[in-house]
């Protein structure tokens, strides 16, 4: 189908996308790590519960930890070998449980049987069994998302990739167009919808052209505007529907899935392959050779950096994820997981590390807020410790933490920090009040 142009949403920012560093690098397969450190917390919900023991032999793709609760997901061995330890490790500043697997190099695989002419229920069951989570970053279990409580009529594939630097979805869309399309059809079948839209930002014309080949998928050219990849905004610009506050996209009859998730669904249905590897973009000005790599879960970040030629200069910031929403790393002692979309090493010129200056009250944060909030109110009242007023006047609880306000702030105020603090305080107060 011919691609159509989408409208823009009010506010938002224009970030220098910096994608040219890695967007022309075809994906490479990263060699298996000698030892994989597989996190048990690989979804939004509770961490999974380990079902293997120390010393047990596992195959690639074997279930090693069971989901605990509705929004948790199964975890699979990413390499074949022996479980050497189940322990707590420091990971980006938090203690987390890990299953440590020492590879034996055999490469033995254990997949589910492939499905042929799968029914909707079979697809749903397979998605749950394969531990598929949203690969855009939030790691929300896909099985929950495709079982909406309200009827839906549209599936939107999110190929916006509005974060600067990241090119993993872009590469996937170019190299595995067919698989993404088939995965989207499986998802549509599971949901019982016929309308499939794929939204791609205008800075990826080759990907848009690739998706024009299918009759049943409508490519939509999204304006280059951050945060276009936000669920609420991609729904608004492609369908004109607004998702209410505290409502789910399904309440507006829409389900949004990342393109990488669609690819994982295709692999799960056709090959029976569980989700244990993904494309990670390694980029930034301080990395010798920016690359897009197929990486097994549990690969140490240190090995990724070394595989890309190491540091070309001393980085000012190391980031896991995109530069607008990712987590700053204090060291390379971190391991990839299902939602690791990128590892970025930013130079002194690229990374923001200025001292904050007094707030000018310029209101630029409110001007760019895609959710139409008032971040300066949140910052002002939370600094004074009045979190209730902060949340009320800033409408903080609706914040999607896209970081647009802090990006634009001429005084470099730590607005996201204030917003997170306020959100945590309000939630804590609500919990206290509930008891």
């Amino acid at each position: 189908m011919k691609a159509i142009k989408a409208k823009s949403f009010f506010a938002g920012i224009h970030v220098k996308d910096m994608k040219s560093l890695a967007c022309n690098c075809p994906t490479e397969v990263m060699p298996d790590p000698a030892v994989a450190y597989i996190s048990l917390r690989q979804s939004l919900g509770k961490p999974a519960v380990a079902i293997v023991e120390k010393g047990q032999k596992v195959k690639e793709g074997e279930l090693i930890a069971k989901a605990d609760g509705a929004i948790s997901s199964d975890v699979f061995a990413s390499i074949a070998g022996e479980v050497t330890d189940i322990t707590e490790l420091d990971c980006a500043g938090c203690k987390e449980s890990f299953i440590v697997i020492k590879g034996d190099g055999s490469g033995e695989k254990s997949y589910f049987p492939p499905l042929k002419d799968a029914t909707a229920d079979e697809i749903k069951a397979r998605i749950r069994d394969c531990g598929i989570v949203g690969l855009g970053g939030a790691a929300f279990p896909t099985a929950v998302k495709i079982a909406p409580k309200t009827p839906v009529d549209t599936l939107i594939l999110n190929g916006a990739e509005c974060e600067p630097y990241l090119t993993c979805d872009h590469r996937l869309m170019l190299e595995h167009t067919e698989e993404i399309a088939r995965g989207a059809r499986y998802l549509a079948k599971a949901l019982g919808v016929s309308r499939i839209i794929i939204g791609i930002e205008a800075n990826k014309p080759d990907a848009i052209a690739a998706f024009e080949a299918f009759d049943d998928i409508q490519p939509v050219i999204l304006k280059k505007q951050y945060p276009m990849g936000s669920e609420k905004h991609i729904i608004y610009v492609t369908t004109g529907r607004k998702v209410g506050i505290g409502k789910l996209p399904a309440d507006s009859g829409v389900v949004v899935q990342n393109v990488a998730t669609a690819y994982a669904v295709c692999q799960a249905v056709e090959l029976g392959k569980p989700l244990y590897e993904r494309i990670v973009t390694v980029s930034g000005g301080a990395i010798a050779q920016p690359k897009n790599l197929w990486v097994k879960d549990g690969t140490p970040v240190k090995e990724l950096v070394e595989f890309c030629g190491g540091e070309s200069q001393t980085p000012k910031k190391a980031i896991c994820g995109g530069p607008m929403t990712g987590v700053a790393l204090a060291s390379y002692d971190m391991y990839t997981h299902k939602a690791t979309s990128g590892i970025l090493l930013l130079t002194k010129e690229e990374a923001a590390a200025e001292e904050p200056t007094p707030c000018l009250n310029c209101g630029k944060c409110a001007d760019v807020c895609p959710m139409h909030l008032m971040p300066m109110n949140t910052a002002f009242y939370s600094a004074a410790g009045d979190f209730e007023t902060a949340a009320k006047l800033g409408n903080t609880m609706s914040c999607i933490e896209c970081g647009a306000c802090e990006y634009i702030c001429p005084a470099k105020r730590p607005l996201i920090q204030a917003i997170r603090k306020t959100k945590a305080a309000v939630r804590a107060a609500a919990k206290k009040g509930g008891k």
Binding site: M376, N395, C409
Partner: protein
Amino acid sequence: MDSSIVISTPPHVKSKRTTKSIMLDVIIALLPAAICGIIFFGVDAFILEITAVLGAVATEFVYFFIEKGGFAKKCKNAGAVCKLWWKQFDYTSIVSGLILALIVPPAVAWYEILIGAIFAIAIVKMVFGGTGKNLVNPACMGRIFIFISFASVGTWIAPNFDAINASEITTGATYLSGALLKGNGDAMSLVDLLLGSGLAGCIGETCKIALLVGYVYLCVRKVIKWWQPLLYVVLSAFLSVCLAAIPEDGVSAGFDIALFPAFALSGGLMFGAIFMATDYVTSPKGVYGQLVYYICLAVLTSLLRYLTGIEVVSFVILIMNLFVPLIDKYIVRKPFGYKREKKVKEGK
């Protein structure tokens, strides 16, 4: 990995815009008006501009020096405090000083504007907490302080730009009162109004072309929103035209749209709209709040101009500055996707 690595909350990339760069843009936008002022009013204007800027910066420095304990322990920390001041110096006091110099008539004495600058920075800005904390526009307040305190401001002199025109100048405070009294717009040609030639007025307010250049620059650099000054000037001039049509002593001047440019271009309206009303610190945040603010400004300006016949823009901006906290408190935007809850009728 080095120990110099920085850890912080996202976002990890930020725009290159800083308070300093914005203030620098404002200074650049003010320069055409400042230069025109010097051309029209000569060395006096230059002395006033320099005095105001230096006075403002010095006041800020002295206040900061005392506040941070520069004199404590026999001035032991003086060097460190100076360094600290230089680090946090964001050009805002230069902007305030320059604006103050541009909105006073050239007849003001240098010590008068110096006192005005000290008052504007020390009392209006620093006492409230410095940059970003002041309730009202310092330059605006400084001008009003000078106007009320010193008699010399009452005398308006014509610029020496055009000696022939000078003889024709109306003797009123500004062109505005002349136009209002005569009830027609032909008292001064529009070209003169635009260029500011042969016109009595404040140093920076006379040459509208210079102001327009500054306006375009600020819009291009996205320091201000283009519609804000436009809304203020156009609406206020339009309302003034409407008010001029009100019959006086039974004689109606009639609705004459030809008066529109005269009202829009006269007095300090354009300067106030471009450089003073749009001051970040003292204007509301959020589009709806800003709409209310500029509409109120326009209504008050036209109304008070009609009632008093004197130049009221700085007073009006001052009044509305004081309403900004209220506007900010009560006009909170609704988040994206907000739907007004339908009131469910109670009862069975």
